[in-house]
């Protein structure tokens, strides 16, 4: 096969892009396996050191925070619960509201859709005070419910599901009706399986969105047991230098590497579905 010059250029660009993504991660990982002193004196490392297990063990299990109560492991669990809750509920709620908007042709469907759409203009950061007020009045501060609930509605996902449902031919609904499917069965037996790739994609986006929330958990949580990973990242950087101790650079790198794992896992796991859906053209 003849390789065209254009292909070579394309590959060079692609490889450069890949390096741009991968090299910093590798440097972080390699640096996380050295002693902090080494990094402080010699700069960041490209090769692995011998402190890998010690550093990671310390990061995961050392108690931190003002009251020395919360560990990084706990923060990972918190973030995971929050992201999982947000992603799951967002997908369920948007899929169902899109179903209502497309299939139940009530008069106000179109205006309601636009009202939902307009909420894109008011992200949580804009409405943070009223949201906080409501959540605290409900007594939900310092709880998983409080962390998740204000973030579960999604105009974006509703929009995508709506567009997808609109491409499903009416005959399918009619045929299902004749086969005795009621509206609930049609949703579960038809729309959910048909949109599973869409669900996987939305779940990935929403999981990463939930995982990377910073401002909301920061305001919501006063108890350390509800701290999340992203908050921890801030804390680990501004950690006080107790006495004359050195900054714990290696542990910071270890923390960063660890914080990347959950979203990566979600993407890797769901990508199977994603690609499966792309290969089988089922429509």
């Amino acid at each position: 096969m003849k390789i065209k010059p254009l292909q070579i250029i394309a590959h060079i660009i692609l490889i450069m892009g890949v390096l741009l993504m991968v090299v910093p991660i590798w440097i972080s990982f390699a640096s996380s396996s050295h002693e902090s002193v080494t990094i402080l004196t010699e700069g960041m490392k490209f090769h692995l050191g011998d402190q890998l297990t010690r550093n990671y063990n310390e990061v995961l299990n050392e108690k931190g925070g003002w009251s020395e109560e919360v560990t990084a492991a706990k923060m990972f669990i918190n973030s995971f619960v929050m992201a999982l809750g947000i992603a799951t509920l967002k997908v369920i709620i948007s899929a169902m509201s899109a179903y209502a908007l497309v299939y139940f042709r009530f008069k106000l469907a179109v205006p309601i859709f636009w009202v939902i759409f307009i909420t894109l203009l008011v992200p949580l950061e804009v409405r943070i005070f009223p949201s906080y007020k409501i959540v605290s009045d409900l007594g939900l501060t310092n709880s998983y419910t409080g962390l998740i609930l204000p973030l579960v509605a999604s105009a974006t996902a509703t929009f995508f599901f709506r567009q997808f449902y609109k491409t499903i031919p009416d005959e399918l609904l009619e045929s299902a009706k004749l086969d005795g499917a009621n509206s609930w069965r049609f949703f579960i037996d038809f729309l959910v399986p048909l949109s599973k790739t869409m669900i996987a994609a939305m779940f990935i986006f929403m999981f990463v969105y939930g995982y990377s929330q910073y401002l909301w958990p920061l305001i919501m949580t006063t108890a350390e047991e509800y701290w999340t990973v992203v908050m921890g990242m801030k804390i680990i950087y501004t950690e006080s230098y107790e006495g004359v101790a050195l900054p714990r650079t290696a542990e910071r790198f270890a923390y960063i590497i660890l914080s990347m794992i959950p979203p990566v896992l979600v993407v890797v796991f769901l990508q199977k579905w994603f690609i499966k859906g792309l290969i089988q053209t089922e429509k």
Binding site: P169, E171, L172, E174, S175, A176, K177, L178, D179, G180, A181, N182, R185, D189, F190, P193, L194, Q280, T281, E282, K283
Partner: protein
């Protein structure tokens, strides 16, 4: 009392379009009824009202002695084959057939039995585990019919199911549908815009135009005795020839010829209809045709030409009768096989 009775059924869409006007008809048990008409004539709407997919604006529909106007589609015991088949893309063929049965709460064993029987009847047993996307057009068509058959419904509804197939497959499936219907013996209604399909499939035929049944009868009745200009033009291929003329005291005057002793008391402007196959060549015929085009179909030849007044005209003759392009021929009407229609109303007057 008939099996299916439509009584003054009317459909008006919310935007004011009247799709079906006070249609009444009866379909007998086991009968194969075909609705035929041009696109937008209301034939599909009528079918969908029987299925319960469209609301009935006025009138009654009775199925097997029961008024079904307000009955939910799933409770009507009707099965429908859609134009694009509407197979469930995410289910394999087995589940496509079984889905309706599952929703009716039938136990697993009888479902399996019924699905396998239907699959055998339609020769799709080997595809049961495949998804619809892995099937050819004809196989999909069979699956769609299988889905209707397994439920053992009171009535089959077909909404132009052959229009997505290529010509050869269409003829084959047409035969299969007819055979299947005779084997299973279920009352069927078939909607099509193709008059050949309609003629070949139907026990009885309803020719629909502008939401009105123009004529109802067996295919041969309709072919031999069209009641209106529309039916005459729609049924028969190639199309009937129409010539404008005038009828006065039982004598018909058309451009270039006249016919005496017409069996009609009508006086005034008329349209004369002659089927291309109801003529033969003669030395001193009524109609003089200058031949422009000859289509040789093998068994028949179609001769297209012009009359004196430049109107197009078609004559169908046996394949062994050679007629040259550019020649002039003279034709007689066989056995007074002509139709006279009132020009203004389109009604048959002879």
């Amino acid at each position: 009392m008939s099996f299916l009775e439509l009584n003054k059924v009317t459909k008006v869409y919310p935007n004011g379009t009247k799709a079906v006007h006070e249609t009444s008809m009866n379909v007998e048990n086991g009968e194969f009824m075909v609705f035929v008409g041009p696109s937008g004539c209301g034939k599909s709407t009528l079918l969908r009202m029987i299925a319960g997919l469209e609301d009935i604006t006025e009138g009654d529909i009775n199925l097997d002695g029961k008024l079904i106007n307000k009955v939910d589609p799933s409770e009507r015991d009707v099965a429908m084959v859609f134009q694009n088949y509407a197979l469930y893309p995410h289910m394999n063929v087995y589940n496509n057939l079984a889905y309706g049965l599952k929703n009716r709460g039938i136990d697993k064993q009888s479902i399996e039995q019924k699905v396998n029987d239907a699959a055998k009847l339609l020769q799709i047993s080997e595809f049961l585990q495949r998804k619809p996307s892995m099937l050819s057009g004809g196989q999909r068509q069979r699956v769609a019919m299988g889905r209707a058959i397994v439920r053992n419904p009171k009535i089959f509804l077909f909404d132009e199911p052959l229009s997505n197939l290529d010509a050869k497959l269409r003829i084959q499936m047409r035969l299969e549908i007819k055979k299947l219907q005779q084997k299973v013996g279920v009352t069927s209604i078939f909607v099509t815009h193709d008059q050949v399909e309609a003629m070949t499939l139907a026990d009885r035929l309803a020719v629909i135009n502008n939401g009105i049944i123009e004529q109802l009868g067996t295919p041969i009745e309709i072919y031999n005795n069209p009641k209106s200009l529309f039916v005459a033009g729609f049924i028969g291929s190639p199309q009937m020839n129409f010539i404008d003329g005038e009828l006065k005291n039982k004598t018909l005057f058309a451009e270039g010829f006249e016919i005496k002793n017409v069996q009609s008391d009508f006086n005034g402007e008329i349209t004369l209809g002659i089927r291309p196959e109801h003529m033969s060549q003669s030395d001193s015929g009524l109609i003089n045709l200058s031949v422009e085009l000859v289509e040789q179909l093998g068994s028949d030849n179609l001769i297209y030409g012009e009359l004196k007044n430049k109107k197009d005209f078609c004559y169908r003759c046996p394949g062994n009768q050679l007629i040259e392009k550019g020649s002039k021929i003279s034709l007689n009407i066989n056995d007074n096989n002509y139709y006279v229609f009132d020009k203004s109303s389109g009604n048959r007057v002879n």
